[in-house]
């Protein structure tokens, strides 16, 4: 009897833990009924391609959210990284130089965010909002309206390559970045302190944690994620223009929150964020394949996200 109660409690705990996975499975099943081509290999690849860039931005956003902060630079950050990468590519003709340029630009954006938040004591919400405008200005100055086309074999492989002719390279990078984020959160001091900062920053400070250092690290990592995402998006379309990726921000934050990251800080996981990104990708894909009229797409997407969040909340009632 006692064991039975324990089992029930255990199962309930697991159901709550994986509630978003269940919601994703339900979405997939419903969509397969409504559109028989939904789970075709081509469409699964299409979903993976569409979530790979925004999924990585979401991972970076998740880190900042766990510390109780907010990062609005991700969308235009992707565009700026691309523009800098494009400038370097046009000068060098090398995709490696472009990739390194994107990553360093992303890291510098994150580092600047971190320094503004910690050294100038400006709330991340405001600091990254101001940085978002700064980045827009920089894009304008650097880009001057130019488009750069990528024809390097490495960029082609990154953008459209597959492993074994089936799994898109971009999906593997997303999985790799998720695994890296998981390791950072669960196996390193940085991860422990990331949760600690979001849980109770003052307590962490009294315990001798160098809060500023870890906040800067978190923002820098989020910036690197932006740089990686930028590389993926520009190689996917084989071109660099200042608008690429600029629409990513909201999907990324929504993915992190749907994946269980608390906007108040102290809670979140890399796996959950991956699931959140997949849910957003599935919804966007479904709206296209169900031929939802253009004007209704945003409305329907918003309503489905709210429903998913509410369902998740219901499944987690009594958790505490």
């Amino acid at each position: 009897m006692g064991n039975g109660a324990l089992d029930k409690k255990y199962i309930l705990k697991k159901v709550r833990e994986y509630s978003m996975v269940l919601i994703l499975v339900v979405f997939l099943a419903v969509m397969q009924i409504l559109q028989p081509k939904f789970l075709s290999p081509a469409n699964i690849c299409s979903i993976l391609y569409s979530v790979s860039g925004s999924g990585i931005v979401a991972i970076g956003a998740m880190f900042v959210l766990i510390t109780g902060g907010m990062d609005f630079t991700a969308g235009y950050g992707v565009a700026l990284c691309g523009v800098v990468g494009g400038f370097l590519y046009s000068k060098s003709g090398s995709a490696i130089v472009m990739i390194v340029g994107c990553m360093i630009t992303g890291m510098l954006i994150g580092l600047t965010n971190g320094l503004i938040v910690t050294k100038m004591h400006i709330k991340s919400f405001i600091a990254t909002l101001a940085m978002m405008f700064t980045i827009q200005g920089l894009i304008y100055i650097i880009c001057e309206g130019n488009i750069v086309f990528l024809d390097d074999p490495l960029s082609k492989w990154l953008g459209k390559g597959t492993i074994g002719g089936v799994i898109p390279m971009q999906a593997l990078i997303l999985v790799g970045m998720t695994a890296l984020a998981h390791l950072l959160l669960t196996r390193t001091r940085m991860g422990t302190y990331t949760y600690a900062i979001g849980g109770n920053e003052e307590a962490g400070r009294y315990a001798g944690v160098d809060i500023d250092k870890y906040k800067i690290l978190v923002f820098s990592f989020a910036g690197i994620c932006t740089g990686v995402a930028s590389c993926m998006m520009v190689t996917q379309v084989s071109m660099i223009s200042p608008t690429i990726g600029s629409t990513t921000l909201m999907d990324a934050i929504a993915a992190a929150v749907i994946g269980g990251t608390s906007t108040l800080g102290g809670k979140g996981s890399a796996f959950g964020t991956l699931i959140g990104a997949l849910i957003i990708g599935v919804i966007s894909n479904a709206l296209i394949l169900l031929y939802v009229p253009t004007n209704a797409q945003y409305l329907v997407k918003g309503m489905i996200i709210i429903s998913a969040l509410y369902l998740n909340q219901l499944m987690n009632v009594g958790e505490k």
Binding site: Q35, T134, Y140, G159, T243, I288
Partner: protein, 368 residues
């Protein structure tokens, strides 16, 4: 000390970048003796006269406050470059401002221009109705109001517009005929609610649906001018459909769509709009079947030139259409002629369009 240094560096970097990004320009003398004000922060403390101002002569410099949606967008960067060239040629001074795609920011910028006492306001409004009250205020201050790309339904407001509806209607006709009057066609738009986007969408849609009953035109996909987003949307569509043709209303997104088509292996024919140089090259090699040259630079030059003429009383028409040209190879041109589709169309070869794209001074300049 170290912390202070870092803080100072951050403040300096942020300030410089914000000033640069928000459109603050310093006066730079430009060729031809006119002064092109490039993004000035601030307002001269002059109060605009509330009475109707007399028409300016060719010797008077026309001061134009330009309020664009977003100066980081490729289109506006190019339009601004050519607009500054027009300012040189037609004795004007342009002050360019970006509004970060926000109506309220556009309203604030126009209020500022009224205070500066500019001669004309040139605005690409986020909301053609929402902008009217502040333009009325400018009009009452004796300022000439001109909208760009977007038709503002107010008697006092002049407009520089493209003949988008008719051009895209024609594009729809050509597309439908080219695929044999049957099949599946996709349509990629900018963002719903944007006048230009809505007009182009309506034109293409009507061009297909009013002429070809057997063509299945899929619901439009809002790519939001983002090639990566358009690429994802098309990849999804191609996973579930055999697409015979697609139309995209701006070249920048079309490039991303072509990548998705190549990845899918489908034989989808592409029609586009804008007539950018890269797109004309793709027309030349047959990747894009037809494009329509409006061109950001041509639009920017034509816009500023027309404003100076309005302010000087040389033009009085409310709607001023930017001349546009269809871009296609000889075989496609012949196809249009054979099928009676070329009536009233100005058709250019890709090479002619590429030449025209950058030689806007030749087309619209004082010597034209």
């Amino acid at each position: 000390m170290k912390k202070k240094l870092v803080a100072m560096m951050m403040v300096t970097t942020l300030s410089v970048s914000v000033l640069a990004g928000c459109g603050s320009k310093t006066n730079e003398p430009s060729e031809g003796g006119t002064t092109t004000t490039k993004e000035s922060t601030g307002g001269e403390e002059t109060t605009a006269d509330a009475t109707e101002q007399p028409a300016k002569t060719a010797d008077d410099t026309v001061k134009i406050g330009c309020v664009m949606m977003n100066l980081s967008n490729v289109f506006y960067v190019n339009a601004m470059e050519a607009g500054d060239a027009a300012a040189e040629d037609w004795n004007a001074e342009c002050i360019w401002k970006g509004a970060d795609s926000k109506l309220e920011e556009q309203v604030a910028l126009i209020e500022n221009f009224i205070q500066q006492g500019v001669d004309a306001i040139f605005v690409d409004p986020m909301d053609a109705e929402g902008i009217i009250p502040v333009l009325e205020k400018a009009h009452e201050a004796g300022i000439t109001c001109v909208s760009f790309g977007n038709f503002v339904d107010a008697d006092f407001c002049y407009c520089i517009v493209y003949d988008d509806y008719n051009n895209m209607y024609k594009m729809g006709e050509i597309c439908g005929k080219y695929i044999g009057e049957e099949g599946t066609v996709a349509n990629f738009i900018g963002s719903p609610g944007n006048y230009v986007s809505d007009n182009r969408e309506a034109g293409f849609k009507d061009g297909i649906t009013e002429n070809y009953a057997n063509i299945n035109l899929l619901p439009s996909q809002p790519a939001n001018w983002d090639a990566a987003l358009g690429n994802s949307q098309l990849t999804a569509l191609l996973a579930a459909n055999e697409l015979d043709a697609l139309f995209c209303m701006n070249d920048n997104v079309t490039y991303g769509l072509i990548e998705a088509i190549e990845a899918s292996g489908q034989d989808t024919v592409v029609f586009s709009n804008d007539g950018d140089i890269e797109a004309c090259e793709l027309v030349k090699e047959g990747t894009i079947k037809a494009d329509c040259l409006t061109g950001a630079k041509r639009a920017g030059y034509y816009g500023i030139k027309t404003i100076t003429q309005i302010v000087r009383g040389e033009i009085d028409s409310q709607k001023n259409y930017l001349p546009s040209h269809f871009v296609m190879n000889e075989d496609m041109k012949k196809f249009c002629e054979d099928n009676g589709l070329s009536d009233g169309m100005s058709i250019m070869t890709p090479d002619e369009a590429i030449y025209c794209y950058d030689n806007y001074r030749e087309e619209f300049g004082p010597q034209s």
